[in-house]
C-alpha cells in the first residue's frame, strides 16, 4: 500500500510539475497570470487527437507538430491580445480568462463535447514491486526529469537564460542593463506555452479529452504554484510533489473521499500560506512602486 501511494504520488506530482513550471515561469518573468495556460495544454491535446486519430499519423510526429503549432499559436495570441495591455495587470488577467473561454468554445464547436482519447505512446504496463505502472506514466516521470534538466541548462548556462533570470529578478534594472525586456517576455511566453503543449503531449494518452478539461488542472496548477511560491521553479516542483502525494494519500486512505482530493490539496495550500505568505520558496515582493 505504501508503495502504491509513493508511485501514485510521484506520477501525479510529475503531471502537476510539468504544468506548474510553465505557469510559474511566465509569472516570474512577465508578471502575467496566464489563466489560459491549461487551455493551451488542451489545444495541444486536441491537435494530437486530430493528427493521430483523424489523419492517422504516428503519435510522435503529432506530438512534435502539436508542440510547434501550439507554441506559435500561443505567441500569436500573446502578441495580439496580451502584449498591448501588459501594463494593466487586471486587464491581462481578464484577457487570459477570455482567451481560455474562446479556446474552449472553439474546441467545443470543432470537436463537440463527446469524450475522446489518444493512443498511448508506449502501450502496456509493467510490475514495479507489485504495483502496476503504465509505461506511459513512466514516460511522464522521465519527461519531467528531462525537461527540468533542459530548463536548468537553458536558464543557467545560456545568455538568454541569464537574461530571463534578470528580468524575473528586477524588470526595470534589467531594462537599464540593456536587456530588451519585452522580447525576453515574449520568449518566455513561448517557452511557457511550449511546456504546456509538451505536458499535453505526454499526459494526454492517460486522460480523456473534452473541451472542459482545462479547468480542473488549472486549479491544481495554481494551487501548486502558489504553494511553492510564485516565480520560483524550485518551489513549483516541490509544491507539485507535495500536492501529488497528498492526493495519493487521500485516495488510498480514504477511498470514499477520493473526490475530496481537490479540496484537501487547496486546504493545505491555504495552511502553508498562513504560515508563510509568500509560499515555500517565493520571494516576497517589495511594493513595486
Amino acid at each position: 500500500m505504501l508503495l502504491d501511494i509513493i508511485v501514485s504520488g510521484l506520477i501525479s506530482g510529475s503531471i502537476y510539475a510539468l504544468l506548474a513550471i510553465g505557469f510559474s515561469l511566465i509569472f516570474g518573468v512577465a508578471r502575467i497570470v496566464n489563466i489560459a495556460h491549461t487551455a493551451f495544454y488542451m489545444v495541444a491535446a486536441y491537435c494530437i487527437y486530430f493528427g493521430a486519430q483523424k489523419l492517422g499519423f504516428h503519435p510522435v510526429w503529432c506530438m512534435l507538430a502539436a508542440v510547434v503549432l501550439v507554441t506559435v499559436f500561443g505567441l500569436i495570441c500573446y502578441k495580439l491580445f496580451i502584449d498591448p495591455i501588459r501594463e494593466h495587470e487586471a486587464a491581462v488577467l481578464i484577457a487570459t480568462i477570455a482567451l481560455a473561454m474562446a479556446l474552449q468554445e472553439i474546441m467545443l464547436n470543432v470537436f463537440t463535447g463527446t469524450f475522446l482519447s489518444v493512443p498511448s505512446l508506449i502501450k502496456g504496463y509493467f510490475l514495479f514491486f507489485g504495483v502496476k505502472v503504465f509505461y506511459q506514466q513512466l514516460l511522464v516521470f522521465a519527461a519531467v526529469v528531462l525537461i527540468l534538466a533542459a530548463l536548468w541548462l537553458l536558464l543557467m548556462k545560456t545568455r538568454m537564460g541569464i537574461a530571463i533570470r534578470c528580468v524575473a529578478d528586477d524588470r526595470e534594472v534589467a531594462n537599464l542593463m540593456g536587456i530588451n525586456e519585452s522580447r525576453v517576455a515574449m520568449i518566455t511566453m513561448g517557452i511557457s506555452v511550449a511546456m504546456a503543449a509538451l505536458a499535453g503531449a505526454i499526459i494526454v494518452p492517460l486522460a480523456t479529452l473534452n473541451p472542459l478539461m482545462w479547468m480542473h488542472p488549472l486549479i491544481m496548477t495554481m494551487a501548486v504554484v502558489v504553494l511553492g511560491g510564485l516565480g520560483s521553479i524550485k518551489g513549483s516542483l516541490l509544491g507539485a510533489y507535495i500536492l501529488g502525494f497528498t492526493e495519493a494519500l487521500v485516495v488510498f486512505l480514504a477511498p470514499g473521499g477520493a473526490f475530496l482530493k481537490n479540496a484537501v490539496a487547496l486546504s493545505i495550500m491555504i495552511l502553508v500560506l498562513l504560515i508563510r505568505p509568500e509560499g515555500l520558496f517565493g520571494v516576497s515582493f517589495e511594493e513595486e512602486r
Binding site: 487586471a90 484577457a95 477570455a98 482567451l99 468554445e105 494551487a223 473526490f259 498562513l274
Partner: protein, 354 residues
Amino acid sequence: MGALAYYVRKLYTIFKGEVLVLPSRVAVLLFFLGILLLPVISQDPYLLRILILTSIFAIFAASWDLLSGFTGQMNFGHALFFGVGAYTAAFLSLHAHIPPWGSIPLGACAAVLAGLVVGIPCLRLRGTYLALTTLAFPVILMGIVFALPDLTGGELGISGLHRLSGSRLSDYYICATLMLGLCSVMWKITDSNTGIILHAIREDEVAVRSAGINTTRYKLIAFCLSGFFAGVAGGLYAHFMRIAGPSTLEVSMSFAVVIWSVFGGMVTIYGPVGGVFFLFPLLEFLRFWPEYRTLLFAGIILFILLYMPDGLFPWIRDKIEIECPRCKVRNIATRNTCRICTAPLKLGMTGEGG
C-alpha cells in the same frame, strides 16, 4: 404655497447646477429613470427576467469592486459569498419557513461571517497570492457541499423555495430598487471616510499604516461589507430561481464577476454595474447564433480590452469629460474653461472667447 414654490425652485437650481452639468451624472439619472420606468413600456416576462438577473448580478459585481477594486484585495473566489448567501437563504426558507424578506438578510449575515473566514487568512497575502488563495475557498466549500448531500442537497441543491414575491413585475421592482439602493449605498461608502481609507490601502498599505490606521480592521471591514452585499445578491438569486445549487459556487461564477467588473471599469462602483448591464443581456442577445455565442462573447471582451484596458465606462467617461488641471473638478469635454475656476481646460485656450 410660497414655501413650496421656493423649495421646488431650489431643487431645480441644485438639479441644474449639479446634475445636468456633467454628462455622466445625467447618464446615471437616465439609467435610474430607465430602470424604474421600463415596465411602463414593456412587461414582456422574458425581458423582465433578464433585467432581474442583471440587477442581481450587478449588486454582486459592485460588491466585488468594493473589495477588490477599492481595497485592492483581488478576490477570485467571490462566488463563495454568493453561494453562502444563496444556500443560507434557501435553508432558512425551506426549513424554518422564514419568508424572503427575512431569509435574504440572514443569508447575507452568513456571508459576512464567510467574509471573516476568508479575510483573516488573507490578511498577510498580497497581489496574486491573495487572488489564487481566494480562488480556493469556493472550491473547498463545494467539496463540503458534495460531501454532505443530505444536508445540502448535493448536486441538485436545495429546491422548492418561496418565490420572491407574487408576480414577475413585483419581483422586478424589488430587485431593481434593491440594486439601485444598494449600489448607491456602496457608492456612498466609497465616498466616505472608510472608503478613502480603503482606497488608500489599495494604493500603499505601508503608508496608511504609518499614518496610524489599523489596516487589518479596515481590510476585514471591506471583506465583511463586500460579503454582505454579495450575500444579498445570492439570497435574491436563490429565491428568484427557486433553487440554490452548487452552480452558485462554481469557478465560472467567480470568474464571471471579475470579467464584468474589469470590463466595466474597476475602482468605480458604476463600472461593474454598467459592465453587467452591458455584458449579461449581450450574452442573451447572442442566442441568435447558439453555437458561437460564448465565442463571440469572449471575442468581444478581448477586443474591447485591447482598446480600453481600464474598462469601458472609465474610457467613455474620459471621452466625454475633462478634469480641470487647476481645481480638479470634472467638466464636460465640450467646454473650453472650467465651470468653477475658469482655468483653461485645453492647451492653447486662453480663457473666455479665446
